[in-house]
Amino acid sequence: MSTGTLDPRDAALPALPRGRGVRAGAIVDRAYHVTLTAVALSVFAVVALIGWECVRGAMPAIRAFGFRFLVSTEWDPVAEKFGALPYLYGTGLSSALALLIALPLGLGTAVYLAELAPRRVGGIVAFVVELLAAIPSIVYGIWGLFVLAPVLRASVEPWLIAHFGFLPLFRGFPFGIGMLNAALVLAVMIVPTIVSISREVLLSMPRSLREAALGLGATRAEAIAVTLDTARPGLLGAVILALGRALGETMAVTMVIGNSNVMTLSLLAPGATMSSVIANEFTEATGTLHMAALIEVALVLLAVTIVVNLCARLLVIWSTGGRRDVAGAA
């Protein structure tokens, strides 16, 4: 997370003891090195194994549908015809919307906590925010279903329909559950991630940066802007982590999104995501092709997650001009 010059690779190694200790020290060093390398590589092994198992399980569906799987909107377990587009769309839309709502909220909170709040207040609020991150997703789902949905149905959605009903985005009936509800629940779930990581990143910014900006006659807001700009790679990291959670979130979304594979532009209409369809249909899928199609959805989800992460890395490298010291932070 550090974005300063504290890269361990640059730090001078402590001098090794001379004499008899050298050999033993070297062996310990070597063992240490090998063990840590193995631990680090095992992460790759796990990801590769997951990928391999998904490909293997999805093979009947891959053979049957090929590329059509990604562009077909049909998901019919009776006729055994499967296409994942509605779920790709649902995952993308709900996550993007959630990020759109959570980003200003989360970043604003983080800036307040790191830069403006009195130290003690900042600590307490940060603790509470982190507590939010520990709430199980089913609790968020129940909240979405029993607290948020009635509010949306009774006041928010009728208002949206009355005032913005001319937009295809807000067409339909106010039922309270659907894409909008899912996006809001997701937003609440990812705000803590954005806040806690962004706050850490901002706190790790050298004080001299702010002091220099203020010394040059910048206002407080301008000084914060300078800090934010410098912290950009770390902040992007926070956003990507949050997006990762939104993309993969299953239980809460399944409870509030309405679970329909009909694709519409309307945010009031029910939708479905890749993880929700897996959660819904996996246990009772009896057909071979149905099961394979569900596993292929998992494969697509894995691919989407990897692509999003890669894009984020590239974005960080690009936005920092490839400076490794900061690029590594995300």
């Binding site: 009776v78 029993f146 309270g176 399944t254 679970n259 009772e284 899928a285 009896t286 596993i295």
Partner: protein, 347 residues
């Protein structure tokens, strides 16, 4: 089967542990349907007190139960949907179906101003779930509810989002009463719903129905009874409006007895009897006709025999409909065909 790796790792590991810890001949393992789990666990409990036989049952879903039977990791499987011909052929050996209890699917609705029970006809239910009837004051609904003022509110049709035996029974019914439904959607544990929203599990559907005025959704009879949900009376094949109840469900099974005698897997939806509730279904135990271990086979056979006699008396207390005598006799006859290593299994 390519579908298995994920499942096998998770489930058979668990079952393997259970098997290893309870490997005696006096213990059986089963896995499958969640719908009959309350009555099964009651049966296993009572049966253990009576005979000392311990039965471990994992309610992991019908689909997963069938997989376990196929993999041979359990003594019996349990499924709300009977196996198709193709699935039966896919099994390594001959598998027998034993219906245990019957259940029904009810249409629960949320119409706060309605004073009398809602009445529905097959074409109205199909119309609602096809998305062709979208408001409560539709003429077709009014026609089967004479003298009742229905609101001009939109209908929210709620279905199960997770694959389930309940969905299977409900869509079997819709396919039985409607040609267009059979053609457009069909019947399965999960289908491609043309409209409406999905809730996860009975509680998900009931939750949506309860908090959304104008909603209608299908849930198990037992769940609806225990949660006191308002359920619609349905017009059956004889033309009578029938309330969902244990008696009208048993009547549906009894009406189908002849067809069941020919093939125990025959769906019992849309039964012809005057007092039969039309959306009913059986839940089954799946057992290999021939097994290796004669001792285990005898224990299992004795349990099923007990479930058909004493077990049936417990059904109503947990809101399951008991089997009619004709079907019990049929099960007894099927039990007599069980073999172990080619030899008959005694009592």
């Amino acid at each position: 089967m390519n579908a298995e790796p994920l499942r096998r790792v998770a489930q058979s590991a668990l079952l393997g542990v259970l098997l290893a810890t309870s490997a005696g001949a006096q213990n059986l393992t089963g896995a499958g349907a969640t719908f009959p789990y309350p009555i099964y666990s009651k049966w296993f409990d009572v049966y253990k007190q009576k005979t000392g036989v311990e039965i471990n049952y994992q309610s992991i879903g019908s689909g997963a139960g069938i997989q376990q039977v196929k993999a041979g990791t359990v003594d019996f499987g349990a499924s709300d949907a009977a196996l198709s011909d193709a699935a039966l052929k896919d099994m390594p050996r001959r598998v027998l179906h034993f219906p245990t209890v019957a259940g029904a699917v009810v249409l629960a609705y949320n119409l706060p101003d309605l004073k009398v029970p809602l009445q529905l006809s097959p074409d109205v239910i199909v119309g609602i779930y096809l998305g062709r009837i979208t408001t409560w004051n539709d003429k077709r609904i009014a026609a089967v509810n004479p003298g009742v003022r229905l609101p001009a509110a939109p209908i929210l049709a709620v279905h199960r989002s997770d694959g389930s035996g309940t969905t299977n029974i409900f869509t079997l019914y819709l396919s039985a009463v409607s040609g267009p439904w059979k053609e457009l959607v069909g019947a399965n544990t999960s289908v491609s719903w043309p409209s409406g929203v999905g809730g996860k599990g009975n509680e998900g559907v009931a939750g949506l129905v309860r908090q959304t005025p104008g909603a209608i959704g299908y849930v198990e009879l037992a769940y609806a009874k225990q949660n006191k949900l308002a359920a619609a009376s349905l017009r059956n094949r004889a033309g009578n409006f029938v309330e969902p109840s244990l008696a009208s469900t048993s009547a549906a099974v009894a009406a189908a007895a002849a067809a069941l005698a020919k093939d125990v897997r025959t769906p019992i939806v849309n039964a012809a009897a005057a007092d039969a509730y039309p959306i009913a279904g059986l839940t089954y135990l799946l057992v290999y006709q021939d097994t290796k271990d004669p001792k285990r086979a005898r224990v299992l056979s004795n349990f099923i025999r007990w479930a058909m006699r004493d077990g049936q008396e417990l059904a109503a207390s947990l809101d399951y409909a008991r089997l009619p005598d004709a079907v019990i006799q049929m099960n007894m006859a099927t039990l007599a065909t069980l073999t172990a290593g080619g030899k008959k299994v005694g009592e």
